[in-house]
Amino acid sequence: MRMLRQMLRLMVGQPPYEVYLAHMARVHPDATPMTRVEFFRNREQARFGGAGGGGKCC
């Protein structure tokens, strides 16, 4: 069930926030990580704002 939820979120370009937090804690412990909402907007912009164009096919 958790996996299905994760899959559906990744389909629309949202990786898990917890993984990001864990990564920040491990690699950049002194930097302040983005909040959940900032992270959501960052990913939204990255999915559609760049050259990837949302990675959609015909």
Binding site: L8, P15, F40, A46, A51, G53, K56, C57
Partner: protein
């Protein structure tokens, strides 16, 4: 011992294929096709994909993927392979695998079935898998960069320019399908129009009210969609509102062009992202429901295995089986566009190299299964209805009586009453000449869904549900594609004029967006005003371009194998490359040079040009102005074919040159990222 279940599966697949191939005249159940496809796909995955993984690519579970070496929690995230499979499948599956097989059904169900099964196993899935592998070994770089790295800067630029043109054609042909599905259909138009305010409201919700709650907002949006479909019936029936949502194809064309320009300039969170939630989840849900529906209903195939149009002269698209079937079913069997996806986000998310066969090869098999379902959908319809929907008005006339007469004359007896009754069942004014594939598939889906739930009374609802589902993700693709095309164009122009690159100022962005919309808008307008219905002309151009991109991706893969010193396995990519080159080069040159005016653009231009000289107007044109437009469009399409041929031939030259150079070296010369081992747990 462990091979025994697989041998049984292979035998089951072979028996099903044999049943399909030898049945003539008696009713064959659609499940034979489904079982044949599924068993072939499973066996191919178990043996061929693993063979490629072990021997051709030599995937190494100890070698770290970009998701580990460059982990950032954002773009590079090691992801569970099942989760990533869903992500990759959602990105590659679109309208292509649904429309192509429906159009291909005009030759009967057998040629399309065989091409999808063998095409995907030997070409399509190999291409996706190879590109994913190549990109995964190079920090998840994009196709253009990969070609540049392995084949040189000139080849990279040619590939990028080719990809941009393909994008333009794809957007035009997708938009054309929407126009054909929504024109003169107030119910469909209302439901699709309703998604815009709905998406805006969802955008506001995720921005300010409950940020990031995708599940919640999607459920709310879905309820809104269903309400729009139900309410659309009243709108269509209303004397005041019905006409307000009834548009001619020309008006719809201008609306779409305006929409494309505006939508791609709006902030992404407002319209694009929320509609992407709806279209993605609806797509996955509808595909699953269709699979369940076909298995539950187990419908008999009513289309013959082969029709008389195998030799050419079909009404939905012109040309003979070879080479045109192989470009009509592009996505589903092999799709060059997937090379852009397989070198996009997916390689940055793979957790282990050994996940690549499941994701690269497996997801493409899944897409082929979608194509098989679309083919089944088109083949369970009465062939009379199929040809009445997919022939141009120039052949059928406009009323059910003339259409029934024309289709019966083709050898598919159908009564005018049946055409009227079918249109009434699905809640439309008419089903005559609703070309483009989407309406045909929607009638088939209505047939299947209403059999499972709701009966005849629900047919109209399910028809408009299917139209909405197709239109929704096509509109998302138009919007997202315009943005992507804009960045491609800025990169390309930026090579000559560096100040045109993204990020310098807003003006180049607006100019590039306008250029992009005008390009696909031109082809869309041409398709909409085309007296033969447009799909007839544009779909082959799209198919040729898409298959050429696939050939380019496979040539890149061949080059990489040679440079890895793995050339003795290069047949894995060389065989599909050669087949695609044969198909696309012969289809491209036929489209260009064939003396048959229904096939060759130049012959068609010459025929109409001569008539203009003589001062006569040829049907279906109605004025001298239309005659000149037809000649002009033919020449543009011919020019496009020349460009595609030039792209693929020049890349073939670079491939051969690079492979020869690699052969002369005594060690590998690939530009892979340095090997890093997976850290011990």
């Amino acid at each position: 011992m462990k091979h025994i279940p697989w041998i049984i599966l292979a035998v089951v697949g072979a028996v099903c294929l044999a049943v399909l191939a030898v049945s003539r005249g008696e009713a064959v159940n659609a499940l034979w096709i489904v079982v044949a496809a599924v068993s072939c796909f499973l066996v191919a995955y178990r043996y061929y994909a693993l063979y490629i993984a072990r021997h051709v690519m030599r995937l190494d579970p100890n070698r770290a993927t970009p998701a580990l070496t460059r982990a950032d929690g954002l773009d590079y995230v090691a992801t569970d392979r099942r989760v990533l499979f869903g992500h990759h499948f959602a990105a590659i599956a679109g309208a292509g695998p649904l429309v192509g097989p429906v159009l291909a059904a005009q030759m009967g169900y057998l040629p399309g079935t065989l091409w999808i099964i063998f095409g995907v196993v030997l070409a399509g899935a190999v291409q996706d898998f190879m590109v994913l592998f190549i990109s995964m070994r190079r920090d998840g770089k994009s196709l253009g960069e990969l070609v540049r790295m392995e084949m040189g800067a000139v080849a990279g630029t040619i590939a990028l320019a080719g990809a941009f043109l393909i994008m333009v054609i794809i957007l035009a042909v997708l938009a054309l399908i929407v126009v054909r599905a929504l024109a003169e259909s107030p119910w469909g138009m209302f439901t699709v129009a309703a998604t815009i305010p709905l998406a805006l409201a969802m955008g506001v919700y995720t921005r300010w009210i409950r940020p990031g709650r995708i599940g919640e907002v999607s459920v709310l949006g879905f309820i809104g969609l269903i309400a729009a479909i139900v309410f659309g019936q009243n709108v269509a029936a209303s004397e005041v509102w019905g006409p307000l949502f009834t548009f001619t194809p020309q008006t719809l064309c201008w609306i779409l062009i305006g929409y494309g320009a505006l939508a791609s300039l709006l902030p992404v969170w407002l319209l694009l992202a929320p509609r992407d939630y709806l279209s993605t989840f609806l797509k996955i849900g509808a595909i699953t429901a269709l699979a369940v529906g076909i298995v539950v209903m187990a419908p008999p195939l009513r289309m013959p295995a082969l029709t008389q149009f195998v030799g050419g002269g079909g009404p939905a698209w012109s040309g003979a089986l070879f080479p045109f079937l192989f470009i009509t079913i592009a996505c589903g069997a092999v799709s060059g566009f997937h090379a852009l996806i397989a070198s996009g986000t997916t390689p940055k998310l793979i957790g282990s190299e050994t996940d690549a066969p499941f994701i690269g090869y497996g997801a493409m098999l899944m897409e082929a299964f979608v194509a098989i379902m679309a083919l089944v959908g088109a083949s369970i319809l009465d062939p009379g209805i199929y040809f009445a929907m997919n022939s141009p008005a120039a052949v059928l006339g406009t009323d059910p009586a003339s259409a029934a007469h024309a289709v019966t004359a083709m050898g598919f007896p159908v009564s005018a009453d049946l055409l009227v009754q079918t249109a009434r069942d699905v809640g439309e004014h008419t089903i005559v000449s609703r070309t483009g594939g989407a309406p045909t598939l929607a009638v088939a889906m209505a047939e299947i869904f209403s059999h499972v739930a709701g009966g005849t009374a629900m047919k109209a609802f399910w028809y408009h549900f299917a139209i909405l589902f197709e239109a929704l993700f096509i509109l998302t693709a138009v919007d997202a594609g315009t943005r992507a095309g804009r960045f491609m164009l800025q990169d390309l122009i930026g090579l000559a004029v560096p100040s045109f690159r993204a990020g310098t100022s807003w003006l180049p962005g607006v100019v590039a967006t306008a250029l992009c919309v005008l390009s696909w808008g031109f082809f869309l307008y041409q398709g909409v005003t085309d007296p033969l219905g447009g799909v007839n002309t544009l779909w082959p151009v799209f198919g040729i371009s898409n298959q050429m991109l696939a050939a380019v991706a496979l040539m890149l893969a061949t080059t990489v194998l040679f440079r890895m010193k793995q050339q003795r396995y290069a047949w894995v990519t060389v065989i599909p490359t050669v087949w695609l080159l044969i198909c696309t080069l012969s289809a491209g040159s036929l489209k260009l040079l064939s003396s048959d005016p229904t096939v060759g653009f130049l012959a068609h231009a010459a025929k109409f040009g001569a008539a203009v000289e003589a001062g006569t107007v040829l049907a279906p044109a109605k004025s001298m102005e239309q005659m000149r437009a037809i000649v002009f469009n033919d020449r543009v399409d011919a020019g496009l074919c020349v460009i595609f041929l030039a792209v693929v031939i020049s890349l073939l030259f670079f491939t051969v040159r690079t492979c020869m150079a690699a052969l002369r070296e005594d060690r590998p010369t690939v530009n892979e990222s340095p090997v890093q081992l997976v850290p011990a747990e």
